[in-house]
């Protein structure tokens, strides 16, 4: 019996990301679910099951940073990898300081993402 594949959740308001990223994560060997907003993610059962969160920073409504703070407030220990289209080093340092595993600027390569996930939660089985 194989170990169940760890669940990774993608939260991004950009539809092309939500389409493309879960497929790639599957190729990496993870289970993936996509959410269009932090509110949607917080309301789902993925909140308690996700090992890692791949999170956009700039979104309408709650931002990626808001979700990071909310999870910390709820005591959820989910590793977070931020992805952002705005190349802003100050913001990057800030989220890392808040405990994020990594912050990648879009567009990022598939290997950069894989390295980040593996360093955050270890290799899938």
């Amino acid at each position: 019996m194989t170990r169940p594949r760890p669940l990774l959740s993608v939260v991004d308001d950009d539809e092309s990301v939500r389409e493309s990223l879960p497929d790639l994560l599957h190729e990496f060997g993870y289970t993936a679910r996509a959410f269009s907003s932090p509110e949607e993610f917080l309301a789902s059962d993925a909140l308690n099951q996700s090992k890692c969160l791949i999170l956009d920073i700039a979104m309408p409504g709650m931002s990626g940073l808001d979700l990071q703070r909310e999870l910390k407030r709820q005591g959820k220990k989910i590793s977070i990898i931020f992805i952002t289209a705005s190349r802003n080093e100050a913001v990057r340092l800030k989220v890392l300081g808040e405990g994020a595993a990594e912050c990648l600027y879009k567009p990022f390569s598939d290997t950069a993402l894989l390295t980040a996930i593996q360093s955050a939660i270890g290799k899938p089985a």
């Binding site: 950009d14 990301v17 190729e27 700039a58 990022f108």
Partner: protein, 813 residues
């Protein structure tokens, strides 16, 4: 002296001589006939001196008319001086002289001893004395004594006759004189009488009065010729009671009454009545009558005169009417008037004065008027009044007078003294003029002035007026304060200019001259440089007005806007910083947005491409999945290209809307819009807009953005220039190929030749704070007009930017 032994011959000769002498002496009176006493005395002396060989003979005649004695003297040649003998004789000859010869005396003179015999001329000696002197000691001998006696008697008789004759002659002359005098007087009296008669007639007929005579019963006896001529009534008609016909009917009863009273009392009197002239005109006469009485006191005649007093009467009436008018004027004009005597005691108060105060004349005369004076003003007024009375100077003071209803009003008291011929003041005439309204206006004015001064102080705004023609300048208090000028020294343009900041002097002079020559309003800012080195920023506005006499005058305000200017400066700096930050921020946002917009689809492309490769590499390859991801890759690629197209549009926003436009006009609009900014930066703009510039087809708004951009760049390039004028020159013109060209020449920091090509590239800037977008946008606009934009360094300092566009941009598009 007897000489017995004398020879008889000598004796005979002596006697003969004596006789001869006697004969001569006796003959003397015949010579003396009609002679005056002094002549007689003289002839006697001459005769005796010769006959007796005497040293001197003297006759003293006592004056018959009571005057002093007269002495006649003859002296022999032997004796030197007559005066010495006289003085010697004066001592011995007096009234006690011997009655007759041979009384003798010896007198000594300086030269000789003289023996003198003296005798009275008459028995009493009243007529005088005679004295004879000889050097002989035996003088007078017997014959000499005889001769002297006879001569003396003869002289006495002759003199007596002479005196009588003199008296007779005097009487006769006096009588004749009296007769002659009487005759002359008589003749003169006759002449005078004749003249008097003539004169009286003349007087009666020519004096400007009629003379008449009435009988005691009152009927007329005589009236002078003039009356008849005046009335045209003949003496026959006027006689008796006929004269009454010419008396005015209204005056006749009164006249008759007076006449009856007169006849009864017998006392002189006078009355007035009108007498009809020959032409029917009545004239006033003064009629006077005087009684004439005989020795027993009965009135025998009434004499009188009638004097024409028409003119006097008229004058009196006129005077009366004038004084009525004057009284009417004094009592009607709304001025309170009064008069006092020399001591200041009021004698008269006009009706308006009494009406105003509600006092009666009795209450107010003298010094009673003072109750109507305000208690606060009374003492001062009286003091002034007393001083004026003392000095005789014109009196001029203000005080409040209580109106009848108790309300006090301000009055101006004025009085002038009236002096007689000697300069002594005999009266004072005065007026009180109601100045309440003026006083209030003054108060109001003072208050307004105070408000204005306060307002000017608070708003740091001074006001001024400038008479263009006379260059007379008036400053308000605040204006003086702003300029830091002393009120004492007269204001001139030069003095004001001395305060103007050296950099603004040209501006100040140009604006002032423009105002003077064209009458254009003033509205600009300039600076002052104060003596302590501080700088003030002023804003002045003023407009030309026409003052009194139609003179050109600028009236306006000068506001010290230093605080506002500094605040504005700070604000501008802040705004400019903010604008820069905003520009930077929005550019960052733009960059971010560009990145975001581009990176999103790129991110999708790469992810999908990576997934696709992994699916194809899997064993077995996931062809279905790979196809799907490849499809998404293409979709995201398209999306990215749309983003790029949208970005390009960002740099040339807006529609291109060409129109027929005048480049010169568009340029002037831009200059007008920018003028305040340019002036603030102390950039002077000169223009040389060519007459030959044709209308062009272009987007007016976009081209104006280019011009504005060039203007601002030029101004910015000169912002650090301190050592030369910040001058900018805008030119337009037509090129040979028909293109229109605009050049903007500045005197700024200049441009490195190597940079000339780069400056129109995006994001290139030589400015420390610039973003370098303006010129690249300008280039894209000019290029849309199918034109060309370039820059070239000046020969001197600064750069010239130019653009050139074809006349018809649309034809190319």
């Amino acid at each position: 002296m007897e000489t017995p032994r004398e020879a008889p011959l000598e004796e005979v000769a002596r006697l003969r001589l004596c006789l001869n002498n006697l004969v001569s002496v006796v003959a003397l009176p015949a010579l003396w006939t009609d002679k005056a006493p002094q002549q007689i005395a003289s002839m006697l002396c001459d005769a005796l001196l010769g006959m007796l060989n005497l040293a001197f003979v003297l006759v003293r005649l006592n004056a018959s008319d009571g005057g002093g004695p007269v002495e006649i003297m003859r002296v022999s040649e032997v004796l030197k001086t007559e005066s010495e003998i006289r003085s010697v004789l004066a001592r011995s000859l007096d009234d006690s002289a011997p009655l007759q010869w041979p009384a003798r005396a010896r007198v000594s003179t300086r030269d000789a001893d003289l023996y003198v015999a003296t005798a009275r001329l008459d028995v009493n000696g009243e007529m005088g004395i005679i004295a004879a002197g000889s050097e002989r000691a035996d003088f007078p001998d017997m014959t000499e004594r005889l001769l002297l006696d006879v001569a003396t008697n003869q002289a006495a008789v002759g003199l007596q006759q002479a005196y009588v004759l003199v008296e007779q002659r005097g009487m006769a002359r006096t009588l004749e004189d009296h007769i002659a005098q009487g005759t002359r007087e008589l003749a003169a009296t006759n002449e005078e009488l004749k003249k008097s008669e003539r004169n009286l007639k003349l007087i009666i007929d020519t004096i400007p009065a009629f003379v008449w005579c009435m009988l005691p019963d009152g009927s007329n006896e005589f009236i002078s010729k003039g009356w008849h001529e005046h009335t045209g009534v003949s003496p026959q008609e006027s006689g008796g009671w006929g004269w009454m016909s010419v008396i005015h009917p209204d005056d006749l009863p009164g006249l008759m009454k007076t006449w009856r009273d007169l006849l009864r009392s017998g006392e002189p009197d006078e009355t007035e009545a009108r007498i009809r002239r020959h032409d029917g005109i009545y004239r006033w006469f003064l009629i006077r009558a005087e009684p004439f009485r005989d020795e027993s006191g009965n009135i025998t005649r009434w004499y009188g005169t009638s004097t024409d007093i028409e003119d006097r009467k008229r004058a009196e009436e006129a005077l009366e009417s004038r004084s009525q008018d004057l009284k009417l004027i004094i009592d009607t004009i709304p001025t309170l008037s009064w008069s006092t005597d020399a001591t200041g005691s009021v004698e008269f108060l006009s009706r308006p004065w009494l009406d105003f105060t509600g006092l009666s004349a009795e209450e107010a005369l003298g010094f009673g008027w003072s109750v109507a004076i305000h208690p606060d003003d009374g003492p001062g007024l009286l003091q002034y009044w007393q001083a004026a009375l003392n000095s005789g100077d014109r009196f001029d003071v203000e005080a409040r007078i209580r109106r009848f209803d108790g309300v006090y009003r301000w009055f101006l008291f004025r009085a002038n003294p009236l002096r007689d011929e000697t300069g002594t003041i005999i009266k004072w005439y005065g007026t009180n003029i109601d100045i309440e309204d003026r006083k209030r206006a003054e108060e109001e004015l003072r208050r307004n002035d105070a408000f204005l001064a306060k307002a000017q102080r608070l708003s740091a705004t001074g006001s001024f007026s400038w008479s263009v023609d006379t260059n007379e300048i008036i400053f308000s208090e605040e204006a003086y304060w702003i300029f830091g000028l002393d009120r004492a020294t007269p204001l001139t343009l030069e003095r004001i200019a001395s305060r103007v900041h050296p950099d603004d002097l040209q501006l100040f002079a140009a604006r002032t001259e423009a105002a003077r020559s064209t009458g254009e309003g003033l509205d600009y800012e300039f600076r002052l440089q104060m003596p302590d080195g501080s700088v003030k920023y002023l804003h002045t506005t003023s407009n030309e007005t026409r003052g009194v006499n139609g003179r050109r005058e600028y009236i306006g305000a000068i506001q010290d806007v230093t605080q506002r200017w500094l605040a504005q400066e700070a604000l501008n700096r802040a705004r400019s910083d903010l604008a820069h930050v905003t520009r930077v921020t929005s550019l960052n946002a733009l960059t971010a947005s560009i990145a975001h917009e581009v990176n999103q689809p790129l991110s999708g492309i790469i992810t999908n491409a990576g997934t696709c490769l992994r699916m194809l590499d899997a064993d077995p390859p996931n062809i279905l999945g790979a196809r799907e991801t490849a499809r998404r890759t293409i979709r995201d690629g398209n999306r990215a290209s749309e983003v790029v197209a949208r970005l390009r549009a960002l740099f040339s926003r807006g529609e291109f809307t060409p129109e027929r436009m005048d480049l010169n006009e568009a340029t002037r609009e831009v200059i007008a819009l920018s003028l305040n900014d340019l002036q603030r930066n102390r950039v002077s703009v000169q223009t040389d807009l060519g007459d030959d510039v044709p209308l062009i087809n272009g987007d007016r708004i976009q081209l104006q953005q280019v011009i504005l951009n060039l203007l601002r760049n030029a101004a910015d390039a000169m912002s650090d220039v301190q050592d030369r004028p910040r001058r900018m020159l805008l030119r337009t013109g037509c090129e040979e190929n028909g293109n229109v060209r605009l050049t903007v020449q500045d005197a700024g920091v200049g441009l490195d030749r190597s940079n000339v090509e780069k400056i129109f590239d995006s994001f290139y800037t030589t400015k420390s704070r610039g973003m370098g977008i303006g010129l690249s946008v300008s280039r894209s606009i000019i290029e849309r007009h199918h034109g060309r934009i370039w820059a070239e360094p000046n020969n001197g300092p600064g750069t010239t930017f130019c653009f050139s566009i074809p006349r018809d941009a649309e034809a190319h598009s």
